[in-house]
Subunit: 202 residues, 4 copies
DNA sequence: CATGAATGAGAATTCATTCAT
DNA sequence: AATGAATGAATTCTCATTCAT
């Protein structure tokens, strides 16, 4: 019975998080309204406060949950083949997550790009596992002489992740016109690895 | 006499815009408080409304002013030499603007990266001159066979601008740790043109 | 339980309406202050907005409630005997309502006499049932040859109602000196039916 | 020269009063905005305060001016013939004033009918000359046995004036539909003297 | 636990009034 | 005298949070 109670609680919590993600994605932390979140979850305003300390807390949890869900997906991505293939696979996984958890990811991206001191470190730490994975791939690439060696791989990794995020922002900002979600992985990897200059030109 | 009055008014307006930029940069549109802006400008609350219709209006004007100041600076940048040199010069000019008008630029970047439907088109239109300049450079580069031809130059231009913005965000987000403003132009251009892959590797 | 809640809410709503009527009667729509209304009702400012959309809405509801209460009372008045008796009964009922719901009626009268385009039609429509009743009485009087036939009864009805209102205004304006509430029905009916001219004089 | 200065000042004052009457007639004391009044007069906000102590003062002066203008016109009306003719002439003069000074009169009527303790006595005192004139006519009528003797003539006079005002309100409230200004004098006098009952019926 | 009415701090905005020019 | 920029008190309305049921 306690078990069932626990599960029930967890379910309600989820519902609230989903609804919150929805609203935070659209309106931001300040613009979102607790009452509307609760109603979207089919609950009363007060109930939110049975699960979360405050609106800010709720926001932080949405952020954390978003990162958790994202990271969970990357863990399963295998790194076979060269750097290009691995990065493609990772980026593809990322886009796949985006599709399923767009609301959560939007919250994360939006907050990340507003670089508020209160949340920036939080987000960086949440995203660390993902960046680390990229870093690992790139380090392998350095060993295989596929990657430039004049810059530290952690910085390159951050650049790659940043590039992905940048493309998401342009995707959302353009209303999905360009780039489309489909082309993002290839676009990101190609831009990141090859640059815009002509090969022979160098 | 009227002349002096006019100048005086313009000065006050400036002061308000500066103060507003400060606050919007830190708190965003929703987080900023009109009363605190006016006080930061050494004026009373009501005075803000003698110059601007509403908080939203004020925000829009800060945005416009930020873009205006930025664009004004790019106009003077000459495109001599190859693509690399031109882009470097442009990026350097951009960073120079950033140093002097950090508050305004932060507002623009923050808003741009939050991709709100209300302001995204506005910002895009404001930034258009800058993107166009990059586009012009890249188009020249295509003619000189310095730039890949498999992607439309407008998209490449947006990518370059996005990359710059991305580096600003990481600069601000890291508290200035990495990248520093000095290294941003080279970093942006090198990443954009060369990518992270090894030349020979291809 | 829900029942009790509902009743409780209805009670609070009433309290707010009464307090609002008080203030609107004294200060008019523009002069009244929401905060003072809520405090007069023993509630906090915000509570008003849990029950009414806005100050204007609240005013409209007070108006409607006032008319509703008034009309409810007239419905029970029987028209027996001649025109004079019927009008007297009706006017007496109106004065009786006035005594009990003075605050509400004052709001209605005040607003009616300020002939604002925003509310005048509203008030006219609310008062229609009362005017119609007078009209019915007068029409009966026309048949019985008690009433002049050279003017449409609806216009005469409006005149009678207007006369009543006029006497209320003079009553309130004079601080109750003249006319007193007691004499208003007879005064209204006599003035309306007989006029100030001498019978024989005609 | 002083003379000219004086006249100039008087002219400006007039302009302000007219503009104020306009706005007070439409918006009431509370709804009117000083700045808009001054601009309607082609002057700056501050100028109003060179001529009037405060908005309230200005309102009071508009009220007084309205009454003054009205009363000035009645003074010239001769009482010849019987009561009916005299009252008709007076009412016609009143309507004539209304036509020319509608803005001022609206302010007076509106304020009178809102029976605010602050202004009611003021208005009554301003209107006293008019009421007195009616009273004089009625007293003459009593002597000639044209008027009922069972009610004090001052009260009858107030009733007559009230009736006129009532018709104005209905005229304005109905958007001029009924009664029209033309029919008001006859309507007022006939209603007042004859009533709605049939002569023979009594 | 869920509920939702009550609360009141806080924010945007208006506008009468002042006063330096 | 005329002006109109500056002021800040006053007001409406919002919404996060509390708490009795």
């Amino acid at each position: 019975m306690v078990r069932i109670r626990q599960e029930e609680k967890e379910k309600v919590r989820r519902r609230l998080l989903e609804a919150a993600a929805d609203h935070f994605a659209d309106q931001g932390l300040q613009g979102a309204v607790v009452d509307r979140i609760s109603q979207a979850a089919g609950l009363a305003k007060g109930t939110v406060y049975n699960y979360f300390e405050s609106k800010e807390q709720l926001f932080a949890e949405v952020l954390a949950e978003g990162c958790r869900r994202a990271v969970a997906r990357y863990a399963g991505v295998p790194h076979r083949g060269g750097v290009r293939e691995s990065l493609l696979a990772l980026a593809a996984a990322d886009v796949a997550v985006l599709r399923e958890e767009e609301r959560f990811l939007k919250v994360v991206v939006r907050e990340a790009m507003s670089f508020r001191p209160e949340t920036y470190p939080l987000i960086v730490s949440h995203l660390a596992p993902f960046v680390d994975q990229v870093d690992a791939i790139l380090s392998g690439g350095v060993a295989d002489r596929e990657i430039r060696t004049d810059r530290p791989t952690p910085q390159l990794a951050m650049l790659f992740v940043g590039l992905l995020v940048l493309l998401y922002v342009q995707h959302w900002g353009s209303g999905g016109a360009w780039p489309t979600l489909e082309e993002i992985p290839a676009l990101a990897v190609s831009t990141f690895l090859d640059g815009a200059g002509r090969r022979e030109a160098t």
